[in-house]
């Protein structure tokens, strides 16, 4: 079983949260083959197969105060509409479900979300989200399999 941690995001403020986790993991020595940046959920189809141990990190809104981190187990816990809805071509939940149907994605996926505050073009992470990024990276390093 291959391990893959994907950070979804864009260069727009707290939407960098997923990328921030990946950058932090790579800084701590995790290989770029295992910890990868993605701009769109559909990128997952390029890298996964049914046996991949897949963890996704992403920014979101609507899960609590800024900087709130939450671990989801898809598909047991359906994602709220606010996760990866709207700003991208295909929503994450649809990408995962279609990938599972066509055996291009694993049947279960762990998703870490970080509540963001500001999403302005080409701005950096806000301090609360920056701290949350470090906490998620800590979790992933502490419990690398099925973190």
């Amino acid at each position: 079983m291959s391990r893959l941690i994907v950070g979804l995001g864009s260069p727009h403020g707290d939407d960098r949260a997923g990328w921030g986790v990946i950058d932090e993991l790579q800084r701590r020595g995790v290989s770029a083959d295992i910890a990868r940046l993605a701009r769109h959920p559909a990128d997952l189809w390029n890298w996964c197969d049914p046996s991949t141990d897949l963890v996704i990190c992403d920014a979101c809104q609507g899960t609590g105060p800024v900087g709130t981190t939450r671990r989801w187990q898809w598909p047991d816990e359906p994602m709220t509409e606010r996760i990866r809805q709207g700003t991208h071509d295909l929503p994450l939940a649809e990408v995962l479900a279609l990938g599972r149907l066509l055996q291009s994605c694993p049947p279960t996926v762990v998703l870490w979300t970080i509540e963001g505050a500001a999403f302005f073009p080409e701005t950096d992470l806000s301090p609360m989200v920056r701290a949350a990024v470090d906490r998620v990276a800590d979790e992933l390093c502490r419990n690398p399999v099925h973190a």
Binding site: L98, L102, P121
Partner: protein, 437 residues
């Protein structure tokens, strides 16, 4: 004044980014239709000012997650023109190869999962995959191979980092690219099957009189070098872009609308425009396939843009395979240059159409000004014109508003609008006032 009702119907899905659509009716008469763009204007042109020119390809790549290569290519070509840099034939071929990877990824995603569902009255790629699992799975594999090429040549698939002014940071080794040949051999066959599949879709009978505009090169299918050609005006030197095209601000959108001068008319860019103008420059397998499926040009049916995309995927696989088979690393990875003051401009073909950049740099190699005109901004007025024609055609016949909204969404999707290059979010607003007679 009549009272106006404002109604909202579901969000337009399966487009890259987010925008909005406002339809104003008086009874069954269309008053106006506007494609709205809500996102604050992209700040990238301002962000580039004062930055070293070396930063430009990496910054512009961040404008769009779907077509970063296009932004890199237009920027490096424009800056090389400003600097007087002439790249080597080897660098030029590798840039076309990189562009092939982006066209494949972008087109295949749109064909299979964003556009195809519209022809089968299903709401998502998921539903389509339940009906056509083999075809959609083939599409995912075709996309994956395009991604592998971007990864191998661009340094990574997301925001490629190997592109620089003058060439590349590193030439790939022969074995790195040779590894991809079997996948591209499979892909060339599979791409032809995919194009045959979409050519058999049930297309609405809707034709418009388009002015097609694309990059033009004397010998090649348009991609990353050349002047501009219009189906009505003929060849236009890129240096004369401003004499023939103009961006205008419109109140309902934070993206600028581009129009043709002097008549201020809409025009069409993208795969349909490219195939209309350059069908004979497609690689042989794509040209043969166009003949086989009876795709005649000029095609004026926007719904058939999916066929043009299919032909371009075949072309991209075939051209990429040719480059991969012939590739031998030769010469420097990049051509050296010295900073100097100057201006430069270039147009290349993003998956969604012509992408124009121009820059002024100072003698220290810093950006003084930058201008970026993405294809979706250029198509925006054309989309509105198509919607107006569609609504004029459909409104006289009683039709549920929801069905009419779906028809509008589907028409917008034929353009594969990369709204996030210049937009955000698409909802449809109906503003209705009763007839006063």
């Amino acid at each position: 004044m009549s009272d106006v009702d404002v109604l909202t119907v579901p969000i337009l899905t399966r487009v890259e980014g987010e925008g909005g659509l406002t339809i104003r009716l008086r009874g069954r008469t269309l008053v106006d239709v506007q494609l709205n763009i809500y996102e604050p204007p992209r700040l990238f042109e301002a962000l580039l000012r004062g930055r070293p020119l070396e930063d430009v390809p990496d910054i512009t790549a961040r404008i769009c997650g779907i077509c970063p290569v296009a932004y890199q290519m237009s920027s490096v070509h424009a800056l090389e023109r400003a600097l007087g840099v002439t790249i080597s034939p080897e660098i030029r071929r590798l840039r076309r190869l990189l562009y092939c990877g982006e066209w494949i990824e972008s087109h295949v995603l749109h064909m299979h999962l964003l556009h195809a569902p519209d022809f089968f009255q299903v709401h998502s790629g998921m539903e389509l995959a339940q009906r056509f699992p083999d075809e959609v799975k083939r599409g995912l594999q075709l996309k994956k191979i395009g991604n592998q090429l971007l990864d191998a040549l661009g340094g990574r698939a997301i925001h490629p980092i190997n592109v620089r002014v003058g060439g590349f940071y590193r030439m790939p080794r022969r074995d790195e690219l040779s590894l991809l040949i079997p996948s591209f051999e499979w892909g060339l066959e599979a791409a032809q099957e995919a194009a045959r599949w979409v050519a058999g879709f049930p297309f609405p009978d809707f034709t418009q009189d388009y002015e097609s505009v694309a990059v033009s090169h004397p010998d090649e299918y348009p991609m990353n070098e050349g002047d501009i050609i219009s189906s009505t005006a003929g060849l236009i030197p890129v240096s004369e872009f401003d004499r023939h095209f103009q961006e205008e601000h419109v109140a309902h959108s934070t993206a600028l609308h581009a129009v043709r001068l002097p008549q201020r008319s809409p025009y069409l860019v993208g795969p349909l425009a490219r195939v209309n103008l350059h069908r004979e420059r497609l690689f042989p397998a794509a040209r043969r396939l166009a003949d086989e499926i009876g795709f005649t040009t000029p095609c004026r049916n926007p719904y058939q843009a999916i066929i043009a995309r299919g032909l371009e995927v075949v072309h991209a696989y075939e051209e990429a395979l040719t480059i991969l088979r012939d590739y031998v690393p030769r010469g420097p990875a990049h051509i050296p240059y010295s900073p100097r003051a100057g201006t430069g401009y270039a147009a290349t073909e993003a998956p969604r159409g012509l992408l124009y950049h121009d820059y002024e740099i100072d003698d220290a190699g810093r950006v003084v000004s930058a201008r970026i005109i993405p294809p979706t901004s250029q198509n925006q007025r054309r989309v509105e014109a198509d919607l107006r024609a569609l609504l004029h055609e459909r409104l006289p016949t009683p039709m549920p508003r929801e069905a009419l909204g779906v028809a509008c969404e589907q028409l917008v999707r034929t353009y594969d609008p990369c709204i996030s290059c210049s937009t955000h979010f698409l909802k449809i607003h109906w503003e209705e006032s009763p007839c006063r007679d």
